[in-house]
């Protein structure tokens, strides 16, 4: 039985730094009966350029993205920030192109795809551990993703979900913000780490790799041994 085809946009961070997240996402989708297509011409959605004020450069990448995924029925992305770039900000870069709005309707953040399109809350995963969930800012505030990942995690066998008090606070990544204002960014990460430690969880999970990169890098610097995992990796675990 096949549910149909899904095109994945893995994001440049996953492609180059954390490919295992892309691999995990594909495993989950294939297990659910989808045939997955990775269009090799994909690169970057343009968010770093857009957030740094370089609209022309971002527009170029937006056009490239539209072109690559022109006729994909579903585009699934393991990142809240890249998804919101496509669904919310492409329209600012290309206000007069109808293709943009139409593209937005086919583009899905991974957890929302599972819950709203596939309509599953239990993907048959198993992960033994105490997990705390970090809400990435774009996912939470632009895509209104909050309960969804928690429901998915609640159905993972052996997983104990613990809520941290600062779950909705920014991790401090913010793209180039992390290198333009490293002291502030680092201080923000350490506040999150304190909150994570208070839960005594052994794993912190998020739907965005850039947040995990920020948190993992900061935790390693201060010698905190909490593991970071992307939601897709947890859901792929058996």
């Amino acid at each position: 039985m096949t549910r149909g085809q899904v095109a994945v946009f893995v994001t440049c961070v996953v492609d180059q730094l954390f490919p295992r997240v892309g691999i995990a996402m594909i495993e989950v989708l294939e297990r659910l009966g989808y045939s997955v297509d990775f269009r090799e011409r994909q690169t970057c959605c343009g968010q770093p350029a857009f957030n740094s004020g370089y609209r022309d450069e971002a527009r170029r990448l937006a056009r490239h993205f539209i072109d690559v995924f022109r006729d994909a029925e579903y585009i699934v992305i393991p990142s809240g920030s890249c998804t919101s770039m496509v669904t919310h900000h492409f329209a600012e870069l290309l206000p007069d192109e109808p293709a943009v709005r139409e593209l937005a309707s086919r583009t899905w953040e991974f957890s929302r795809f599972l819950l709203e399109v596939t309509r599953v809350e239990d993907v048959g995963a198993r992960y033994e551990g105490a997990v705390t969930y970090h809400d990435s800012c774009h996912a939470l505030r632009e895509l209104k993703i909050h309960d969804g990942p928690r429901r998915l995690l609640a159905n993972v066998r052996g997983l104990e979900l613990r809520e941290m008090d600062a779950a909705a606070e920014c991790c401090g990544f913010g793209g180039t913000f992390s290198v333009k204002f490293p002291d502030v960014s680092g201080a923000m990460a350490r506040t999150k780490i304190d909150s994570i430690l208070r839960t005594k969880a052994d794993t912190v999970v998020s739907a965005d790799c850039s947040c995990l990169m920020q948190l993992q890098g900061a935790m390693r610097r201060v010698g905190v041994g909490v593991r970071t995992m992307h939601l897709a990796e947890v859901l792929a675990s058996r």
């Binding site: 011409r41 505030r141 920014c170 401090g172 333009k180 990460a189 993992q216 890098g217």
Partner: protein
Amino acid sequence: MSGAFIPVDRLRGTIADSRLQSAIYTATGRLIEKRASVVSPEALPDYQDLREQAHRVKRHTLENLDHYLEQLEANVAAHGGRIVWCDNGKEVADFVLGLARQRGANLIVKSKSMTTEEIDLNERLEHHHLEAVETDLGEYILQLAHEHPYHIVAPALHKTRHEVAELFSDRLGVQHDVVIENQTLTARRVLREKFLAAGIGITGANFLVADSGAVVIVENEGNARLTSSAPPIHIAIAGIEKLIPRAQDLAVFLKLLGRSATGQPLTVYTSFLSGPRRPGELDGPDEFYVVLLDNGRSKLLADAAKRESLSCIRCGACLNHCPVYRKIGGHNYPGTYSGPIGAIITPQYRGVMAHPWLPFASSLCGACAEVCPVKIDIPRLLLDLRSEVVRERSGIERVAFRAFAWLAAHPRVYSFVTAMAARFAPRGENGWLRRLPFFARFAALEKWLSQRELPVPARQSFRQYWRSRS
């Protein structure tokens, strides 16, 4: 964009000051909780509708501001008051000085007003030997200490009781006392004399009501009521953007302001003042003036895309929720206004290039927009300002982004280049680097590494894995 413009040392200093960090984080944390409890769906079911209404009323008012200014003027005059039109701070000071001289007033009492901070009114008045006393407790403390407010709503949040005790014994000659209640009583006693002796009372205004010719002031202490009722002259100074069309619109704005600022459904006192005392009234000022200040607001008004910045009702919620403000505090922002609202209006008032780093001092988390009672889209405005900054200045960063954009629009080259980078990248420990090899000492990477370890490119990228699958 050159990093040389970022006040790195000052930011680092603030972050390293653990007492200050604790004070800021705790105070803002408390305000966050208080707000949350009174805008929850249980406490205020139509909170989102109220925000939308407030946004629309402000937008309509700003779009027709000249009309409402004229209406306000007519109604103020009808009730025996007078509008004073001031383009800038000097004109405000000249008016106040002129009036004080004419009436022989040497002592002025003031209640809290960010607008008067903006124009350094106290300094100007003191320069001409008028005593202008701040009567809001926090502002009074700051005045004695010769400091600027740290936060829109909690101006002295960075001061401890010990610092206040020192200040009071030093400047007021009272016994050194660290008990906060006693310190408050001291201030009450000293300031009461001032209220009753002052020749002029100067307040700000939270709202100017066009259909009533009225000034609305919200507060918790009672000093604004005293400032506007005890002296024979009341001057209310407000930016032109403070207008709302109808008294009945206060049903929306008063519901949002107290809750967003301090978690209070209503502040202790809300005064609705229109004109000097009327025949038959036993007290109240003999003269009533409303000073309308432009000071650059018409410039912001002209930019339709950013005009909504003027909708701000100065609640401070964006400051409280901003993870950056909660680390760097109010004194690290240039200009009068700090936090997210400061980051969007100061560049508009002074020109983006005055502080080109300011719009970038944000992770774009969106917490501010989520809590703004009038729905100002602060992240969108920050992004607009960022693109204005980079348009003014080109540097290595533009070259880098342009090169990356070219690369990413040419997938085969992209695949090749990234594969090469991964091949020659250092291995690190479990895929993480503690320090940079000599050939990779780029400033951006150094800055990353100053705070955390750096992930190295994966040996096999996802696209390489996918290739190998088929």
